[in-house]
C-alpha cells in the first residue's frame, strides 16, 4: 500500500477585528474564497467548519451547509467540529484524516468565530461553556479565572515573577506590528502589562487575549496530488489530539497540561522528529501563563523554566525558536474557535516563505499547539516543507 501523506495547498485568513460588521458567514466566505483562489482548486469533496460559540452567540448552528451553500458547494458532505478554543485545531485533525483515508481528495478545512457585539458577561458565559456547567460554572468562576488560578499556582511554585511572564505578551505585540491582519498594532512594555487593570487576579488585561472576529481556511489534498496545485506544498507531518478531564479541579498538577504533553509526544513520534527539529512555533497563548507552560509541555524547556527562553531572546523571530511569529493569540487575535486554524495558515506562510515582514529565515519544520478549554483538548500539528 502506498502511503501518501496530506498537504496544505492553500490558505486564507480574514483580518481579526472587534469592530467587524461582517456576519459569521461573510467572515468564513472571505477566508474560504482566499484559500480556494490561493490553491487554484475547481472542486471540493468535503468541508469541515470549526467553531465554538455560534449556537450561543448568534443562535446559529448547522454551519456545514450554511458555509458550503454560501460558497456554491451545496451537495458536498459537511461537518461542524467543536472543541472549544481548539475547534480549529481539531477541525484540521479531522479534515486531515479524511484526506488520509483516501475517501476525500480535496478538502476545505476552516474555522470561524464572531465574538464582538455582545456584552462582556454574555461572552464570559459563552467561554465558560468549555468547562463543566453543573460542577464548576455554578461557583461563578470565569474562564479567565480558571487560568488565573493556574497562573497563581505556577508563579508561586516556580517563583516566576509577573515581570518575566509579561515578556510573552510583549513579544506577541511586537510581532503583530508586522502582521497586517492582526487585531492589535500596538507596541507594549512589561510595565504596561503590570499596570493594566486586573481581570482575574493575578492576570491583568495585557496577560489576556482579546475579543475578536475572524475566519481562517486551508485547503488539503494528498502529498501525491499537491504539486499539481502548488510548487511549495507543505506536508502535515503529524496531527495529534489528546484530551484530559473537563474540569481543572480534578487534576493532580495544574501547572502543566497532560493533554499537551500527550499530543506533542505522539506528534513527535509520528513525524520522527524531536523538539530540536522545530524551526518555528505557534503556541496557544490565550493567557500569558499558558504560553510559558506550552514551551515546557511541548519539550522546549524544563518545568517552570519556559520564560527563560523568552528572556534569552530565543523566541524572537531572529532567535533559535521563533514563537508566535504573527502575534499569537494575544496580539494577532483570538477568535476562539478559529485560532487553531490561523496557526496552521501562518505556519504554512512561514514554510513557503510567504510570511512577508513576519518571515523567519528559511524554516523547514513548524509546530502549532491549540488548546480547548482548560487544557481539556489539545491539538498539536507539525508541518514540514516538502
Amino acid at each position: 500500500m502506498s502511503m501518501s501523506g496530506v498537504a496544505v495547498i492553500g490558505v486564507g485568513m480574514t483580518p481579526i477585528s472587534s469592530t467587524s460588521d461582517k456576519s459569521l458567514t461573510e467572515l468564513f466566505v472571505q477566508a474560504a474564497k482566499e484559500a480556494i483562489d490561493n490553491a487554484g482548486i475547481d472542486r471540493v469533496d468535503a468541508m469541515y467548519v470549526g467553531n465554538m460559540m455560534s449556537g450561543f452567540l448568534q443562535h446559529q448552528e448547522h454551519l456545514g451547509p450554511l458555509m458550503a451553500s454560501a460558497l456554491g458547494k451545496e451537495g458536498v458532505p459537511t461537518y461542524k467540529v467543536e472543541a472549544a478554543c481548539a475547534s480549529g485545531g481539531v477541525a484540521m485533525n479531522v479534515g486531515m484524516k479524511a484526506v488520509l483515508s483516501g475517501l476525500d481528495k480535496i478538502v476545505v478545512v476552516g474555522a470561524v468565530e464572531k465574538m464582538s457585539g455582545y456584552s462582556t458577561p454574555e461572552v464570559t458565559t459563552g467561554l465558560m461553556m468549555a468547562e463543566d456547567r453543573l460542577k464548576v460554572a455554578t461557583s461563578g468562576v470565569t474562564f479567565v479565572g480558571l487560568n488565573a488560578m493556574i497562573a497563581r499556582e505556577y508563579m508561586h511554585r516556580f517563583k516566576v515573577s509577573h515581570e518575566i511572564m509579561a515578556e510573552l505578551p510583549v513579544l506577541c505585540h511586537e510581532n503583530a506590528l508586522d502582521n497586517p491582519k492582526a487585531q492589535f498594532h500596538k507596541r507594549i512594555t512589561v510595565s504596561d502589562v503590570l499596570k493594566s487593570p486586573l481581570v482575574a487576579d493575578p492576570l491583568r488585561l495585557y496577560d489576556c487575549s482579546g475579543i475578536g472576529d475572524g475566519a481562517a481556511v486551508v485547503i488539503l489534498t494528498s502529498t501525491e496530488e499537491a504539486r499539481k496545485f502548488t510548487d511549495t506544498p507543505v506536508e502535515v507531518a503529524a496531527s495529534s489530539v489528546a484530551s484530559d478531564t473537563l474540569s481543572l479541579y480534578q487534576r493532580k498538577d495544574i501547572t502543566m497540561f497532560e493533554a499537551s504533553r500527550k499530543a506533542a509526544n505522539e506528534a513527535y513520534g509520528r513525524a520522527k522528529l524531536t523538539p530540536a527539529d522545530i524551526d518555528v512555533l505557534e503556541v496557544h497563548d490565550a493567557f500569558s501563563v499558558l504560553g510559558l507552560m506550552a514551551l515546557e509541555d511541548l519539550g522546549f524547556a524544563q518545568k517552570g523554566k519556559g520564560a527563560q527562553l523568552l528572556v534569552n531572546g530565543e523566541c524572537n523571530r531572529d532567535g533559535r525558536l521563533p514563537t508566535n511569529t504573527f502575534g499569537g493569540l494575544k496580539a494577532r487575535g483570538h477568535p476562539v474557535g478559529a485560532s487553531g486554524m490561523y496557526q496552521i495558515a501562518e505556519l504554512t506562510l512561514q514554510l513557503t516563505q510567504h510570511a512577508a515582514k513576519c518571515q523567519v529565515p528559511n524554516p523547514s519544520i513548524g509546530l502549532a499547539q491549540s488548546i480547548g478549554g482548560i487544557g481539556s483538548t489539545v491539538a498539536v500539528h507539525i508541518l514540514r516543507r516538502i
Binding site: T124, T125, T138, G140, V141, M149, L198, D201, P202
Partner: protein
Amino acid sequence: MNPVNLPGVVCPKCHWSDFFKVQTCPLCLTAVTSTSFPGRGRIVTYTVIRYPPSGFEREAPYVVGIIDLDDGPTVIGRVKAEPEKVDIGLIVHFSRETAGALEFVLV
C-alpha cells in the same frame, strides 16, 4: 467553630471521591455511594473574579478557589472573604452549598 460536613460521593471499589453527585465512578465505572467529608481544607490556589458571567454581576469582586480537603477530594468553590485576606495555603471551613456552589470561610 467546627466546619460543616461537605456532602459528596465515594467509590466503594477504588475510593475515588468528588463533591459532585455523579452516579458512576469515572475511574472504574462502579456505582458510587453517598457520603460526607469533614469540611476542613487548604487553599491550593485562588483568583478574584472582577468580570463575572451573566447572573453574577452584582456579586463581583468575589474569590473562587481550589480547596484540598484534609480528608476528602479536591474541590472548587467560593471563599467568602475579602480578597486581600486570602492566600495560598490558608485553612478554610466549608459553610454551605447554594445553587450548586460550595462556600468556604477563612478560619
